[in-house]
Symmetry: C2
Subunit: 199 residues, 2 copies
Amino acid sequence: MADKRGSRVADRTDAIMRTTLELGQEVGYAKLSIEAVAARAGAGKHTIYRRWPSKGALFLDSLLSLNEPELNYPDTGDIEADLREQIHAAVDLLSKPPLGPLYQALLVEAQQDPQVAEALNERFIGPQEEKTIARLRKARDQGQLSSDFDLSLAMALLSGPFYFQVLIARQPLTREYVDRVIEAVFAGIGPKAPKTAGG
Amino acid sequence: MADKRGSRVADRTDAIMRTTLELGQEVGYAKLSIEAVAARAGAGKHTIYRRWPSKGALFLDSLLSLNEPELNYPDTGDIEADLREQIHAAVDLLSKPPLGPLYQALLVEAQQDPQVAEALNERFIGPQEEKTIARLRKARDQGQLSSDFDLSLAMALLSGPFYFQVLIARQPLTREYVDRVIEAVFAGIGPKAPKTAGG
DNA sequence: AAGTCAACACGGCACGTGCCGTTCCGCTAT
DNA sequence: ATAGCGGAACGGCACGTGCCGTGTTGACTT
C-alpha cells in the first residue's frame, strides 16, 4: 500500500511536519515551499492548507512539535551560575545546527507575520521568559539582585545582547561571550567605585 | 515626451529609489515587487536589475539614500546623558513611521540575504557602532566607565535590549524604557552593595 | 564649430518558470 | 454513504531574461 489515504490524521500531520523540518534544513526556510512539502510528504496541498493557514504556522508547529526545548532552570542558589548554565543550554540548542538556523528563520518569519509572532511568543518565548523571571525573582528575594529591580527589564538586559550578537552583529555565540555578558549585566559598565561618592 | 529615455542616469536612479520607498511604505517590504516599482517609476525592469542584484540591495540603497541618519554624538562630558540623547534620537528615527517599519524590514531582509547584511553593516550599523564606541572610549578614559571594559561588549549591552524590545518582545520603544535600560546597564542588576570589595 | 554616427541605456513587451491558494476528481477506510 | 485523502489542474502573480524600437551621448569627421 503505497498510499496513505485514510490513515490516521495524527500520522499524516506528523509526516507533514517532519517533512517540513527536513526540507527546511535542506533548502532553508526562505526557499521552502508548501508545494515541495506536499510532494515529498506524499500529501495533497489541500491537506496542508486545511490544517495550517500559512507557511509560517506550519513551520512553527513543526518546530514546536520537536518539544525538545525543556529548558528548565537549575537552582543551585547562585543566580549567576544558574543563568550561565541555562543560557549555555539555550545557546547550544537554539544557535547551532540543526535547530539554530530553523529557529532563526522562525524569528524572521515572526517579523513578517503577526500571527506567527503571537503564537511564537505565546507558546515558546513567553513561557521561557516566565521561567527566567521566576528564577530571577527568587534570586532577588535572596538578595542576589538589586532589590528594586523590574524583572522583565532584567530579562531584556540578559537576552537582548545575545539576540543582538546573532541577528545584528551576525557573530557566533560562544560560551565565553555568554559568560562575559552575564558578568557585565550583573556588575554594570559604570566605574567600579560607586558613582555617587568620589571615584 | 512622456518618456524618460536617455535622461540622466542619476535622475532615473533617484526616481527608482524614491518609488521603492514610496511603495515600500504602502504595501510593506514583503509585498514589494520589483515589477511594481518598475511600473510606477515608469522604468523597465532591466534598468533596475542592471543596477541592483536583488530587491534587498535596491531597498538598502533606497533607504540609505535618504542619508538622514546623521546621528552624531553629543559630548557634554556626561556619558549617560549623551547616550540617552543619542539613543533617543536613534529611536525617534528608526522605530517610528515613516522610517521605522522600513528599517525593520531591512533588518529582516539582512537575515535572509548575506549580501544585504554585509552592506547594511558596512554602510550603516558599523559606522554607528564606531561612533558609539569612540564616545564610550572617551568616557572610559575619563573614568566614567569601568576601566577594563571591552567597549564592543558595552555596545552590545546597550543596543541589544532595544533590538530585543522591538524584534522579539514586539513592544514599543519609549523614552522611558530607553532611560531605564541605560541606567540599568551602567548600574548593573547585581545588588547595590559592591560585590568585589568595599566601595 | 557644426554635423554625423556607433555605442549605449532606456521603456516596453513577451516569455518560461516556480509557487501560490483553490478546485475538482477518483479512491479508500470507516 | 460519507468524509478525508492524494493527485492533477487551474488562474494568478512575480520572478529573471530576451528582444525590439527609440532616444541620448560623446568621439570622430568634415
